[in-house]
C-alpha cells in the first residue's frame, strides 16, 4: 500500500468516526428529549423541561461535543463525518411527506415572489456594501450568495462559479454557521414577541436564516406549521440557487475576469439545481396520493419520526461544525458586511413575509 493510499484510508476511518460521533450524540438527544420531561415531572424543572424541544438538545450537545473533541485534538480529523447538508436534505425529503401537495401549490406563489424579491434585494445590498468597504469581487460574491440564498451550499456553488479560493469558501461557511446558530433561538423569540401569525413566522424564518438546517431548527421551535412554511420558502430559495450561480459565472467571465468564456447553458443550470428539492416534491406527491387513496395515517407518523431523527443528526452536526478560528484570519470588514446584510435581510424579510403570507391558510 502506498503512502497516499494509507493516508486516504486513514481519512475514511476518521470520517466514519465522525459519523459515529454524530449518531451517538443524536441518540443521546432523542433520549433526553423523550425522557427529561418524564424525569422532571412534578418538580420545578418540569415546566421548563417540557418546553425544551429537540433542536435545543441537539445543538447544545453538538457544541459540547465540539468543545470536548477540540480539547482532545480530534475535532478537525473527525470533521469530514459531520455531514450537516446530507442529514438536513434527507430530513427535508422526508418532511415533504408530511405536507399535503395542495399546501405546496398554494404556498408556491407567495414563496416564489418572496424568494425572488429577497434574493435580489439582499444580494444587491451585500454586493454594494462589500464594494463600499473595499472587499474583493470573489469574496463579495460568496458573502452575497450565502446571505441571500441558502448559506453554505450557496457559498459552495458561488465559489465554483467565480473560482474563489478554498480559504474564502471556508471563511464564508464559518460566518454562515456563526450567524445561523444564534438566529435559531432569537427568531422564534422575536416571533413570540411580535405575535406573528404562524404562516408569516414560517415565511420570515425561511426567508431569513441562511442555512437550511438552521431554518428547520428555528421552524421546529415555533411549531409544525411554521416548520412546513419555512421549509417551502427555503426550498424555493434553494431552487433559485442554480440561476444565481449561472448568472455569477457569466458576470465574472464577461465583466470581472474578462475571459469572454461565459457558459450559460441548460446543463449548467441543471448541474447547480439542488436535487433534494425534487425529492421533497416527489415525497409530498407520493404521501398525498397515499393518504387520498385511503392509506394508513400512522405510517406517515413513522415517516415523521424518521424525519425528526435526520433533523437531529443535522442539528448535532451544526454544533460540531461551529468554528470561530477562520474569522480571525480574514479581519472584521467581511463580518461587518455579513452582519449588516443579516439585519437588512431580517427587516426586508419581515416586511415581505407580512405582506405575502398575511392571509395564508394551509
Amino acid at each position: 500500500m502506498t503512502e497516499v493510499q494509507a493516508r486516504q484510508r486513514s481519512q475514511v476511518w476518521w470520517a466514519v468516526g465522525g459519523v459515529a460521533v454524530v449518531v451517538l450524540l443524536g441518540a443521546l438527544t432523542r433520549y433526553l428529549e423523550q425522557n427529561v420531561p418524564v424525569f422532571t415531572k412534578g418538580t420545578w424543572l418540569g415546566g421548563i423541561a417540557k418546553s425544551v424541544e429537540y433542536p435545543v438538545y441537539a445543538i447544545v450537545l453538538g457544541l459540547l461535543g465540539n468543545a470536548v473533541l477540540t480539547g482532545l485534538g480530534f475535532r478537525d480529523r473527525l470533521a469530514a463525518g459531520f455531514r450537516t447538508e446530507f442529514f438536513i436534505k434527507t430530513g427535508l425529503v422526508l418532511l415533504g411527506a408530511s405536507i399535503n401537495f395542495a399546501v405546496i401549490v398554494k404556498a408556491a406563489g407567495p414563496a416564489i415572489a418572496q424568494a425572488f424579491l429577497l434574493i435580489t434585494l439582499v444580494f444587491g445590498f451585500t454586493w454594494w456594501l462589500g464594494g463600499k468597504v473595499g472587499l474583493g469581487p470573489k469574496l463579495r460574491a460568496l458573502l452575497s450568495s450565502a446571505v441571500s440564498i441558502c448559506g453554505v451550499s450557496a457559498a459552495i456553488a458561488a465559489a465554483g462559479a467565480v473560482q474563489a479560493r478554498r480559504e474564502q469558501l471556508a471563511y464564508t461557511a464559518s460566518l454562515v454557521i456563526i450567524f445561523a446558530l444564534p438566529s435559531i433561538f432569537v427568531l422564534p423569540l422575536l416571533v413570540d414577541a411580535f405575535g406573528l401569525p404562524t404562516a408569516v413566522a414560517g415565511a420570515w424564518i425561511g426567508g431569513n436564516i441562511d442555512t437550511t438546517a438552521a431554518v428547520s431548527a428555528a421552524g421546529a421551535l415555533v411549531g409544525e406549521e411554521a416548520l412546513q412554511i419555512a421549509t417551502i420558502v427555503k426550498t424555493t430559495q434553494n431552487a433559485l440557487l442554480g440561476v444565481v450561480a449561472v448568472a455569477l459565472t457569466a458576470y465574472f467571465a464577461l465583466k470581472v475576469e474578462k475571459t469572454g468564456e461565459a457558459k450559460v447553458s441548460g446543463r449548467a443550470l441543471w448541474e447547480r439545481f439542488p436535487k433534494f428539492v425534487l425529492g421533497f416534491l416527489v415525497a409530498s406527491v407520493v404521501a398525498t396520493v397515499f393518504l387520498e387513496s385511503g392509506g394508513d395515517k400512522t405510517v406517515i407518523a413513522t415517516v415523521n419520526d424518521l424525519r425528526t431523527l435526520f433533523l437531529i443528526l443535522a442539528f448535532v452536526s451544526i454544533g460540531l461544525e461551529f468554528r470561530v478560528a477562520p474569522l480571525r484570519e480574514a479581519g472584521w470588514k467581511p463580518i461587518g458586511v455579513f452582519a449588516s446584510a443579516t439585519v437588512f435581510n431580517l427587516l426586508v424579510g419581515l416586511g415581505l413575509a407580512s405582506l405575502l403570507f398575511a392571509n395564508f391558510s394551509g
Binding site: 442529514f87 465554483g160 467571465a253 475576469e257 404521501a287 415517516v303
Partner: protein, 43 residues
C-alpha cells in the same frame, strides 16, 4: 480561469451529497409506506 482544487472537491462532494440525500430520503419513504420499516423500529 482555474478552479481551486479544494473548491472543486467541495463542489463534487456537495453534488454527490445532494443526490445521495434525495435517493436515501425517497428510498426510506418507500420502505416505510410499504411497511418494510415498521413503526416500532424507528425510535
Amino acid at each position: 480561469m482555474e478552479t481551486d482544487e479544494g473548491v472543486r472537491r467541495e463542489r463534487r462532494l456537495a453534488w454527490n451529497e445532494d443526490w445521495a440525500a434525495t435517493i436515501v430520503g425517497l428510498v426510506l419513504l418507500a420502505l416505510v409506506l410499504t411497511q418494510f420499516i415498521p413503526g416500532w423500529l424507528v425510535p
